[in-house]
């Protein structure tokens, strides 16, 4: 095989694996962003964090939120709920960036998937 083509194919395999690894980190991130609370399930989003913060700033201490399954849930301690979702967001995002930065430096497929 022409050396130029061989190199391109090797690179394309690397790119395909890199793409797959990025997808796996992204999905892990979405999974880590789920907050299970009192039998309800909330995906922590920037919107949810901001909304809770606005409610807290306007002196609300409890609130009703609609969870991922469209079930209304009473949040009796909004401050605690806010702190928990904030921590979940920070931890999940940190883990995501650590994984992402690790593979950014890797140049072989074996290292990408940590074989």
């Amino acid at each position: 095989m022409d050396e130029r083509l061989e190199k391109a194919i090797k690179f394309s395999n690397y790119m395909a694996s890199l793409h797959n690894q990025k997808r796996s980190f992204q999905e892990k991130y979405y999974q880590d962003l789920i907050y299970f609370f009192n039998g309800s399930q909330f995906t922590v989003t920037k919107e949810l964090i901001s909304f809770c913060k606005i409610m807290l700033d306007s002196s609300q201490t409890e609130i009703i939120l609609i969870d991922d399954n469209q079930i209304p849930t009473e949040i009796e301690n909004l401050e605690e709920f806010f702190n928990n979702i904030k921590n979940i967001y920070i931890n999940a995002s940190n883990e995501f960036i650590v994984s992402y930065n690790r593979i950014k430096k890797e140049r072989t497929i074996e290292n990408l998937v940590d074989l």
Partner: protein, 298 residues
């Protein structure tokens, strides 16, 4: 309230489902800390192959065929040994084998638990997310949303069961509590299975063999009053899967390495690894090879 996991394991001539069940039950114990019961027609084989199985499984529930099971008109006579499915081992290797999936509708009757998480044996459990389904209020939980690890394949068959828009649900993982509504649901499931040719035709399902996913989807549709409704809610997160065209290469604690089918290149694969994500591995052959390797290391 008793809680536990229920597995069905019925071997065919090439695939050892009891081995998968044994491996999964061990992971359930370590990761979720819950008891697992197995329903199997290979009790003796299980006990011979895995001498510590009575410690691993909470209960071993044997399938006992009664004489009238063979009489025409019963579910067993209609389904048993009549269904064969193509099992792949990657994109090139494939073989037709018996597909013994006909007893799932009995889960409500046989489960020893008040709260049951029914799992396929080809699930590789890697996190504690399933513990949350026992906390959720809904008495029946199942996955509709799923994610194919390979990313490029047409997954429309996993969105709707037909062209008239009946939602597809995965019978792979089902959580249910013993309630009157769930009893009705599982009885309905038996009725659908018993009259499968009729329902297959009404709901325009073009598959030669009986699939629990389809029967569950139809039953949920009926329970919801022939429309979309709240009878079933989603299990925590979404269902991650690889098809039997991918190869499970290695399982190392909570890290699973796959060779994923490469788009437009038959026989070529892309390497990928997933950490801390529970995955439904449809390539049973490669899963069993990984389990063999893991069990040897213990």
């Amino acid at each position: 309230m008793s809680k536990g996991i229920l597995l069905y394991a019925r071997n065919n001539s090439k695939i050892d489902y009891t081995k998968q069940a044994y491996f999964l039950a061990k992971r359930v114990k370590n990761i979720l800390g819950l008891p697992t019961s197995i329903v199997t027609d290979s009790e003796l084989y299980l006990k011979t192959q895995f001498p510590d199985c009575e410690k691993v499984f909470d209960k071993i529930i044997p399938i006992v065929w009664s004489e009238n099971s063979n009489i025409d008109g019963t579910i067993l006579s209609k389904f048993e040994n009549h269904f064969y499915k193509l099992y792949r081992d990657g994109t090139i290797s494939k073989q037709k084998l018996a597909f013994k999936n006909q007893l799932r509708s009995s889960a409500y009757d046989v489960t020893p638990y008040n709260e049951t998480l029914l799992l396929d044996t080809d699930i590789v459990l890697s996190n504690t997310n399933f513990l949350h389904c026992f906390e959720q209020k809904n008495n029946f939980q199942i996955y509709h949303e799923s994610f194919d690890l390979a990313g490029f394949r047409d997954y429309s068959e996993f969105k709707y069961i037909n062209d008239i828009g009946i939602k597809f649900y995965w019978a792979t993982i089902v959580f249910f509590r013993k309630t009157e509504e769930n009893k009705i649901f599982f009885d309905l499931l038996k009725h659908i299975q018993d009259n499968w040719n009729h329902y297959k035709s009404v709901f325009q399902i073009n598959q030669s063999y009986f699939r629990n996913d389809h029967a569950f989807s139809i039953a949920i549709h009926i329970m919801n009053g022939y429309t979309e409704g709240d009878f079933a809610s989603s299990l925590p997160g979404k269902l991650y899967y690889t098809t039997d065209k991918d190869i499970c290469w290695d399982i190392d604690k909570n890290k699973i390495t796959f060779l994923l089918e490469k788009e437009n290149y038959v026989g070529e694969y892309t390497l990928a690894s997933w950490n801390d994500v529970t995955i439904h591995v449809m390539n049973k052959f490669s899963l069993n090879r990984c389990i063999d390797k893991e069990l040897k290391n213990v």
